[in-house]
Subunit: 314 residues, 2 copies
């Protein structure tokens, strides 16, 4: 039984896309899972009515304020005490919900992660990650994808540990293959940081390190289940995938594997290494993206990842 909080006011197309996405998710969630919508009750109910969806299928927590994309993350998180994001994090902190997802202000979401939920003791730097389908029909986890743009080797090493736990608990991979994203497969390849990271990972017993992986193999699934890199490279990789998806579509290719590269299929980025299950979606999230973000949130909750990471780092 998972109680999933959704920021109904978050994203460019909220609350229509968020509420519609939540309705879409209902058919895919476990029977005893429940979605809690945070936001303007009247607006939420209007969309539900328009979609002929009974309001009692959701819990609604009315919030009178919204943090907008242009707002200062820290200031607005504190000032707008009744905003959907601030109230959502308070609910997460007090265990009224098991996870919280939003396509709203990434900055405000990170404020909630770092100052309300807080990082797990022992974790140097939390990370944001994405799980993307691979051409062999499985999926891989890429981390970090933009939170830490200048990573030290010990931080990347921890991302191996965090990714390993995610792959086991959420992706259901028994012995995940952890690889370091690099510009060559040989151990001596790379920049200063990846070379030093390789040395740290090489003989580890914390996870199954399979060596370096090159960017061309990231999506094949052949080499790794978890791919570790700094947030500057990871974010660029992710954005290049977005670019490729657009190119493929413009060239008449859609459906099939190509949909795995659609941000809406990816659904959102999981914030890992904090004391709660938090998913952050693309600002432009469509209802499909919201649906997939909700499903990812449920999977993360069911994986009991937070408890597992706390134990590992204790």
């Amino acid at each position: 039984m998972s109680i999933i909080g959704l920021d109904a006011m978050g994203g460019d197309h909220a609350p229509v896309a968020t509420v519609k996405g939540a309705i879409m998710a209902l058919d895919f969630l476990d029977k005893d899972s429940r979605i809690v919508l945070f936001g303007d009750k009247e607006q939420i109910e209007a969309v539900l009515e328009q979609e002929n969806c009974p309001a009692e299928r959701f819990d609604i927590v009315h919030c009178s304020e919204v943090i907008h994309m242009g707002d200062h993350p820290v200031q607005s998180f504190q000032a707008k005490k009744d905003s959907s994001i601030t109230v959502g994090f308070a609910s997460l902190k007090s265990n009224k919900i098991d996870g919280f997802a939003s396509a709203g202000s990434t900055g405000a979401m990170m404020v909630g992660c770092m100052y309300v939920v807080k990082q797990i003791e022992g974790v140097i730097r939390p990370t944001i990650s994405v799980r993307v389908g691979t051409t062999d029909g499985n999926s891989m986890l890429l981390l970090d994808v933009g939170l830490n743009v200048d990573c030290k080797p010990d931080v990347l090493y921890q991302y191996g540990i965090i990714g390993n736990a995610y792959a086991k608990n959420v992706m259901g991979v028994e012995t995940p293959r952890i690889a370091l994203l690099n510009i060559g497969e040989e151990r001596e390849k790379g920049n200063l940081v990846t070379k030093a990271t390789y040395e740290l990972m090489e003989h580890t017993e914390d996870f199954n390190f399979v060596g370096n992986i090159e960017a061309k193999s990231v999506l094949t699934g052949e080499v790794a289940d978890v791919i570790v890199c700094d947030g500057f490279l990871g974010n660029s990789m992710l954005k290049q995938m977005e670019g490729f998806y657009e190119i493929a579509k413009s060239q008449g290719l859609s459906g099939g594997y190509i949909e795995a590269l659609n941000y809406a299929t990816v659904g959102g980025t999981a914030v890992l290494g904090i004391n709660g299950n938090v998913l952050i979606g693309h600002g432009c999230s469509s209802e499909l993206a919201i649906k997939n973000m909700i499903l990812q949130t449920e999977l993360t909750i069911k994986g009991n990842l937070v408890d597992n990471l706390r134990e590992i780092f204790s």
Copy 2:
């Protein structure tokens, strides 16, 4: 009139693919251009005969040795004095050829660049670059794509200057748009290096800096003609393009714009900032890749880029 040297022994499929590629190139070169093949005369002539191509259409410089992929670059460059790469660089240095291209050992090619041809005075670090077609029908230059994996801001700034000269002289763009590859368009985005580089480029009069570009826009042509990044990111971008090309093909999409992402269309990477025109190809180069590498070499020669860069940095 361009005299283009080609290492006929370089690459996994040499000399068959190299000689065939050279034959293919003949139809596209200027009438008075000439290809000089460096390598085993007997083997080269055997391929020419097999292809029904008169040997006199090429100049052949017989070389009795080959530097293999597994050879130590510096040692083999010096020890194998009659290898196609070593002889090719000697010819370039003494102006018997105007440019030299090889799909052989990248390490040995770089030894030739740095120790025989040498870098242009004032250039902190030479760079390798690729020119890739964009979806708007034009092309962009990405640099560095793997030579300098840890770039300081002043090096990246120089890549702006070098790329600007290339775009003007070789790509024929009157006022090239130079962008910095980054994880956001806003000036405050990025890691320590890109933030510092942005500050250096922001008010420059050395080139037309258009700001940051995100990886998703690299191939649209909408933002920039020249895209500057460190070799770690650039190499990863390039390899992700290769990976995406494979995915597109496997999904039944080929031809059209997608072919621009084929390494064989790209043809090779130009080494810039040295006292000569040098192109390095993929080890697995097909005849099509060799053909395109030869055409790129001719374009670089005709652009008179080396003289122009010498003047800029003097």
